[in-house]
Symmetry: C2
């Protein structure tokens, strides 16, 4: 894999002088068009062997590009706020919006590589982590990002030469650390693991480009040209080309038996039972949040359900048991301008809670496979891949000790009609029924189908859906509270 | 001051039962109108004596209000990211946008109070900190926020009773800490300092409401009613009313001598001198950033100047000396939707760098007193108060060990014409001159006046303006680099 990058590639001074001005113009030109069109974000990854010139390359890129629309990131100096969230949160929070360029040095590839070389993680775990990276990069590409990955390579001899050269000049001596020499001694191991890593993560949408690192001019020019031409190519591509993948349709069960239809909608609770259960489970929930172990976890509660199914009421019963400082209720409405310039999941990532906090979502990331699917607000491709991205998102939270509790509040069509009419009678406008509510109701069957597909595809062992029979509000609220308590209890025991 | 809050105010159960439903409806109604109109943000501060029921009041408010549009914050668990920024950054980052409600428990009043009672800070410093709070709240009010401040009061006897009561019940025992008893012993001291604090910070726009805390029903209903009626009142107020303050005009010096006219625009550097100076100061800057002390400071560089004065070129010369991971260049363009829902300074606060990082602004928070003033994009009131808010902002950064370096790059009208024409000749579109550039040029004199006012009002000892004679690019770039070095050096010595 590295053979071609050990041939001693070089660019002579004359060629450099002749070609650089054109290259810079092409880069700036592409960058300006990108910025003005705001068509897509560009994510440039510069990784590779130690001292192969990653930092210098990035510095030069920053010089060649318009610095106002590029931002550079590296994995280091992780803050507490980052350490409390899933591993990928730190990247999500700095993803470039459409029209901008983000340069990442090493980043998501650094840790898995180093940890495997040093034996901290076995190959099996390395593979798992690479798998997650693949998912992440696939999501970026699916969302339209241009992902360019460069690996700077040096042969062992070249690396040694380079280290010695840096050490011999007092201006650059500080760059060579004891760790660099240590890595040098592990060269073979690094080479082997890197090869495995590059092989696994070189995909059609986001392939690696291996660049020989020994000659700076060759390195800079190769990367510069690749960036300029890739951006230009993508800018010139028609919209159509990017959405070519044909997705097979989801087939309904041939007997038309849907999971929602198996719910016993007559379940109910008497008022006095409700009152005592409410006190019991709210007390329990409050106690759980004061358990010392609670400081190590966080909780995400996701509410979906039919219109008028009582999401708001259930949320109220949860927060009554909590300290107001430890939760946020997040109503999911149409995305803001900043959110629209980012991948679909970005606005949920930005709301992942810190340790010992709750984030309660009133409507959620499932909007894409529910309302957006039914109303045709997004392509089939988009909502089909959303299932995978959602599972990914939840899995990462759970791995980071976030308890993910998901509720579908289900009412029958008749009960909904009754509640709509009741609300229309009440003068108080908070409960006014909008035309949209009536329109959604017309599409009841389509929504039901989408809900069942959603449950089939996203009710996982780590983040199962709890279906709540909500025709009776008392029954529903207690089921919600009880489930939240149970899932937190389970997490505290881990 | 506290006399009226020791009268033993009470609300009986019957009144409570009768009035609460109306109150809740009024609250929800006001909140919904607020959310839909997105007219202004509401900031509710709940402060007061220990165990006077701050937490319970906030919990009830959260129950009464629609929890999707309220968020509660407290000062505690400060993160590293917060500790690295000026003290008020933690509040700026969680300010509610227009249409939402933010509830703050204690927050900006807690620390000054406690520190003064415990003798950590003297009265003089207390006054300084209260002065800053006044500025902050004034800014919020000027930006249209509704700021409601409630102080829950208990007499010493009541406080003792309350502590004993809480301790006697095993469900509430955990709420009473050793610290609470310690504060109880310091009751008189607390009372004295609180009084001073309330007196100083009760302003016409954001007055304190002192509420007797011993009877929960009285406490809840007083605060609930005050919130509902204040929001309603403001919603119903006409736009005109809020902008009534008449601002006296800024007078130009009667001899028309402006500071910009005193610059010697013939200053220049020969190319060879430039080259050696460039190397010298870039080397110096790089060394400074590797000084161990640099980890304790951060740097904000602000660029303003005539169009085509060479801001971009100067920024490039700075970043060439830096590690790409340690700076961000922030181009100031029109605010995003999220930024428009916040006070004017919010988008600059959100970009304050962490320790050992640079934030380089290409155009800045001075936009309000330059382009917005000249083009009439904001009221005179708004840009007039901006001077104070800007000085405040910079002062807070400097106090937090952020080096603030501000440049005005000045070119003559003739030189600008020459550069515009030159740029028009170059085919490469990056340098295309827009119609707006020509339009701005027509208002040259107005801009010049605004610049001089800006310098007069915001060139402070802690964050002085550096006026750069930029007709000669070489001279300008070196002056910029040299100034940045000098100011960092000065800060490192502190």
């Amino acid at each position: 894999m590295f053979e071609s990058a050990e041939l001693g590639h070089k660019i002579c001074k004359e060629t450099w002088k002749k070609e650089v001005p054109t290259l810079r113009e092409a880069l700036l030109d592409a960058q300006l068009d990108l910025f003005q069109s705001k068509k897509f974000p560009v994510i440039i990854l510069i990784a590779g062997v130690d001292c192969a010139g990653k930092g210098e390359t990035v510095s030069l890129l920053n010089e060649w590009l318009d610095p106002r629309h590029v931002e550079t990131h590296a994995v280091r100096d992780l803050t507490e706020e980052e350490l409390e969230r899933p591993e990928m949160w730190r990247y999500w929070r700095v993803l470039p919006p459409k029209g901008k360029i983000g340069v990442f040095i090493g980043t998501w590839y650094s840790n898995p590589l180093i940890e495997n070389v040093y034996g901290t993680i076995k190959n099996a775990e390395l593979d798992q982590r690479l798998e997650r990276i693949l998912h992440f990069e696939k999501m970026l590409c699916d969302e339209g990002a241009l992902v360019l990955k460069f690996w700077l390579h040096l042969s062992q001899d070249q690396q040694k030469k380079r280290l010695k050269l840096l050490e011999s000049d007092e201006k650059t001596r500080w760059r060579v650390t004891a760790r660099d020499w240590e890595h040098y001694k592990l060269y073979d191991k690094f080479r082997k693991v890197s090869e495995r890593m590059l092989r696994t993560t070189s995909t059609a949408e986001a392939p690696w480009t291996i660049v020989e690192g020994s000659d700076p001019r060759y390195r800079y020019m190769t990367i510069g040209k690749a960036i300029a031409s890739s951006i230009r190519l993508r800018l010139d591509a028609s919209e159509a080309q990017s959405h070519e993948v044909a997705v097979p349709p989801i087939l309904a069960a041939i007997d038309n038996l849907l999971i929602l239809q198996t719910l016993d909608m007559s379940k109910s609770l008497k008022k006095d039972v409700y009152k005592s259960e409410l006190e019991k489970f709210q007390g329990k929930l409050n106690l759980l949040t004061r358990n010392p172990e609670f400081k190590k976890i966080s909780v995400v509660v996701a509410f979906e359900g039919n219109d008028a199914a009582g999401k708001g009421g259930s949320i109220r019963r949860i927060i009554q048991a909590l300290d107001a400082r430890q939760y946020r209720v997040i109503p999911v409405a149409s995305p803001t301008e900043e959110e629209r310039a980012q991948p679909y999941m970005w606005r949920f990532w930005r709301n992942i809670p810190r340790r010992s906090r709750f984030a309660i979502f009133d409507r959620t990331w499932y909007g894409r496979v529910l309302v957006e699917r039914v109303e045709g607000c997004c392509e089939q491709n988009d909502w089909m891949r959303a299932y995978g991205e959602i599972n990914d998102f939840e899995e990462q939270m759970v791995r980071n000790r976030t308890v993910v509790v998901k509720f579908w509040l289900s009412i029958t069509k008749d009960e909904q009609l009754r509640r709509f009419k009741e609300r229309e009678k009440i003068g108080f406008k908070r409960y006014k029924i909008t035309d949209e509510d009536w329109r959604n109701r017309d599409k009841w069957d389509k929504y039901e189908g989408a809900v069942c597909d959603m449950i089939d595809r996203t009710s996982t062992e780590i983040a199962p859906w709890t279906l709540v029979e909500a025709n009776d509000k008392y029954y529903a609220r207690i089921k919600v509270l009880k489930t939240v308590c149970e899932q937190i209890e389970k997490a505290l025991k881990k």
